[in-house]
Symmetry: C2
Subunit: 241 residues, 2 copies
């Protein structure tokens, strides 16, 4: 059932909602695209229509072959999400029931993604059964944990490490989101919540710090407007990929 056209598959998870996991997934895809790589996002987070909404996607293209094709953002990132099957992909819909898991699995097996260097999976938040069963149904090459400084804790990293160890998936690292910001007047880099603890966690859990991202008004504004393709902070993108 392996999809021969897809290169590496990286799952993006979080200890709980609200840390910016979907936003960071979008930034990872933009960072890969900036490097000239072909990137896709498989939206497995049924808690909300984030990925289609972030990119202002309206629906799926008409199929040109015998298999359905993903939507494509303005930056060329391919996206598949249950929400793209709705009239209004940006409206929140509660998805439930035994069909959801198999629909998400089919996004991997039955969608014609074309040739992809990287496929990022936006997992359901948390370390419950939901993200676990997605990673049991789709062959994942690595896992990134998104945290925010006040939410980052030994417990969160332990649970993610236990989950990835059980699945035999490498825990590639932590992405600490909304960890600092730049003063718009004087340019000073201001750490929120004191120094990041992620450095100490690296030694305790073999979970390296993958990137530490700022709170950026540009992110909030583009996310709200559905125009994430326009995000252009190269300094930040270059730390992600």
């Amino acid at each position: 059932m392996a999809n021969e056209n897809i290169g590496r598959i990286v799952a993006v998870g979080s200890g709980k909602g609200g840390v910016g996991k979907s936003t960071v997934t979008a930034l990872l895809a933009l960072a890969a695209a900036r490097q000239g790589l072909k990137a896709g996002i498989l939206d497995a987070d049924i808690t909300g229509p984030s990925i289609p909404k972030l990119f202002g996607l309206e629906g799926l293209p008409a199929p040109t072959g015998d298999r359905p094709e993903p939507a494509v953002t303005k930056a060329g990132i391919r996206v598949m999400s249950i929400n793209l099957l709705l009239d209004d992909p940006t409206k929140p819909v509660v998805w439930r029931g035994p069909m959801v898991g198999s629909v998400i699995t089919q996004f991997y097996t039955d969608i014609d993604w074309g040739k992809l260097d990287y496929l990022f999976i936006d997992l359901p938040p948390g370390t419950s059964d939901a993200p676990l069963s997605v990673m049991q149904s789709i062959p994942v090459d690595g896992f990134l944990l998104v945290t925010s400084p006040q939410e980052l804790s030994v417990l969160v990293v332990e649970k993610a490490a236990a989950m990835t160890k059980m699945l035999e998936v490498p825990l590639l690292g932590l992405v600490e989101n909304m960890a600092w910001l730049k003063c718009p007047d004087c340019g000073k880099r201001i750490d929120l919540f004191g120094k990041s603890h992620a450095g100490t966690l690296e030694s305790s859990y073999g979970a390296p710090l993958w990137a530490t991202l700022p709170v950026e008004p540009e992110v909030t504004a583009l996310a709200d407007a559905g125009k994430m393709d326009r995000y252009a902070d190269h300094e930040v993108l270059d730390t992600l990929f």
Copy 2:
């Protein structure tokens, strides 16, 4: 069952954990104390030992009368928490079962708080049964909702408004926490996440903006060290009370 020695009782709630509800409850008590008022905190949040931990409380004092007395912080704030009944009140313990609700109710009926102008209740997070049943067992005069800008939403305020309306408790207002910060170099006030939405919510829900608090390294540091009594930003305290 009314406790004649207690003045106004203000319950402090949140849409979900992690927005700083316990921290804000502590700041409210400190703000009242700064005004020369006698303040107490009834810790009804069994998800963690926050209130005793914030103030570095070690246990209960030996009783001097026929009823148990609360712990007292260095700033003179009285505190009662299930965690103060343990050997180590700062260690996280999972409290469950039908006894918990009645123990919390007894903190109101059977504890000798002495004369209090204000008693703040640190509610369990969220708008589920847990905060609801606390407010059904203890006569509350008002309710404050703590939010953070990225968590603040119409849905959260609606749920809190529905809960307080059903209980016939006034929704005194929203405390937007971690909404801005001051650049330590140039002093510029930087709004996180764009302009606060709390202003528009006021007109939609009759939930006024009670206060908008900054992310402050002083808060994180004192909270972590169990020394919240030393918090001395008068500008912030004066907006809370």
